[in-house]
């Protein structure tokens, strides 16, 4: 494996993965820290390495809108954005999903303004939770790149047809140089079938897209979207396995466990912090602590059943959120993990939510150890509902 690796920037690895998926139309607007992806893609296009239309549009809103048109015309489409750009797309995200257009987008996760802050957290994609997009979160550069063909395969499945976001942490993954295997064109050609939708904008078969639905028909659109998410739930797992058989790499499907079997304290998290948590667990395991990790790879669809199964033996669950629902004093993962446990008796472990890493605040091992120690207080009957794990007391 090592001999096939090269040290490249995360953004380059993703751009390269996009290239081998052969999108017909790419439309994007530059925004830090996503810029390198679109710069690399522009360069590929300029060098004649991609047979695609690369559109320099005047805003993220037009970027996604152009792809709605292109996807309806039957094209495989790609864009990437972050933060404010994703927020600007918000309205069109619902539209792309409602029209069942399998657009794939890399979201380079970054905080939202105000105050303006260009660094990583996951508030941007979490805030698009209900738009009907599939959302997977990557833990490293390789996974960020590998998600691209996986998501095309899932999104374009004729029983799914939903747009999808590959979420990678801004800077931490987009700007890191590390050894990766650049996706091989030949393997990708074998792995990813052509996109050939049943209906496209075609004068020879002139269908109408985006009709107006009144109360007598609207509900079923939502119902079928939800059903498609259910299909995606299975497909994400299957495609991850198909990918591992073809490329030899696996990061979990919906979830992935690390030292989970006998873990009493289970940490749940998404994105690049997974690696740091693994190192923390290795360290604590040496000290005899029974700590494990449950990585959430798929946030939409949300794998509630699988989470309950995975947490069966947990005594305490810790969730890490690089986001907050202001007014709930919780991050989204915390809320959803708690919610999926309520109506059954499979898991009785308390869930402690920690919010951290906002606006790029670093998450060192010491912060994770601090959270684990707090979780242990549950045994003594001290229970924390949810809190910021890395507040600066001098500013708070």
């Amino acid at each position: 494996m090592r001999h096939r690796m090269v040290v490249v920037e995360g953004s380059y690895a993703v751009a390269h993965a996009v290239k081998v998926c052969k999108p017909n139309v790419i439309s994007a607007y530059p925004i830090t820290p996503q810029t390198h992806i679109v710069e690399d893609l522009s360069q590929f296009a300029a060098d004649g390495e991609m047979n695609c239309e690369y559109m320099n549009v005047e805003s993220e809103f037009s970027a996604i809108s152009a792809l709605i048109g292109a996807s309806a015309a039957g094209a495989r489409t790609y864009t990437s954005t972050t933060s404010q750009g994703l927020a600007l797309m918000h309205e069109a995200l619902f539209n792309a999903s409602g029209m069942r257009l399998p657009i794939v987008m890399t979201v380079v996760n970054r905080a939202l303004s105000a105050p303006i802050n260009i660094w990583n957290d996951q508030q941007d994609s979490i805030s698009q939770r209900d738009t009907g997009w599939i959302q997977l979160y990557a833990e490293d550069v390789q996974e960020s790149a590998d998600m691209t063909p996986q998501l095309y395969k899932i999104a374009e499945d004729e029983d799914i047809l939903l747009p999808a976001m590959a979420c990678m942490d801004g800077f931490i993954l987009s700007h890191v140089y590390e050894p990766v295997i650049l996706l091989e064109q030949s393997l990708t050609d074998e792995f990813l079938p052509d996109y050939s939708p049943e209906f496209v904008l075609d004068p020879k078969n002139p269908m109408s897209f985006g009709a107006f639905a009144d109360p007598s028909t609207y509900t079923e659109f939502r119902y079928k979207q939800e059903k498609a998410m259910g299909v995606a739930l299975k497909r994400i797992e299957e495609v991850a396995i198909e990918f591992s058989e073809k490329y030899g790499r696996y990061y979990g499907g919906l979830l992935d466990g690390y030292m989970l079997e006998d873990a009493e304290i289970v940490i749940m998290a998404m994105g690049s912090v997974i690696g740091t948590i693994k190192d923390t667990i290795d360290m604590l395991r040496k000290e005899g602590e029974r700590v494990g990790l449950l990585k959430v790879r798929s946030f939409r669809p949300f794998p509630a059943d699988e989470i309950r199964k995975a947490l069966k033996n947990a005594k305490v669950v810790i969730t890490l959120d690089k986001n907050i629902s202001v007014g709930k004093n919780e991050g989204a993962l915390c809320t959803e993990v708690k919610a999926c446990m309520y109506n059954n008796r499979d898991v009785l472990a308390p869930v402690i939510g920690f919010m951290l890493g906002h606006g790029g605040r670093d998450i060192p091992i010491s912060t994770i150890v601090k959270m684990i120690n707090k979780a242990k207080l549950v045994e003594k009957g001290i229970f924390i509902e949810s809190e910021f794990a890395d507040l600066r007391e001098d500013l708070a």
Partner: protein, 86 residues
């Protein structure tokens, strides 16, 4: 059964909706006055004033909403609007 809802709809399928029921006045075409200029056909917002084989025009009353543009625009005043049911 396919889970995917048909988000697309078939061309021209509004024809299922017979808008003739909207009409309170109906245009009556007097062929004796007609010069076959075709203005009634051009300016029908429903696109349902049709040219007959003999070159005269008649609206499709299944869809005609009775807006009266044809009557207003007819240069020969050969179309009159008559209250429905009369």
């Amino acid at each position: 059964m396919k889970l995917i809802i048909k988000t697309v709809v078939k061309p021209g399928s509004t024809r299922a909706n017979k808008t003739g029921a909207w009409r309170s006045f109906m245009p009556v075409f007097d062929h004796k006055l007609c010069s076959k200029c075709g203005i009634c056909e051009i300016y029908c917002p429903e696109g349902v004033v049709n040219k007959l084989e003999n070159g005269f025009f008649e609206p499709d009353y299944e869809y005609c909403k009775g807006c009266g543009i044809c009557a207003n625009e007819c240069p020969k005043k050969g179309i009159i609007m008559v209250l429905e049911g009369k």
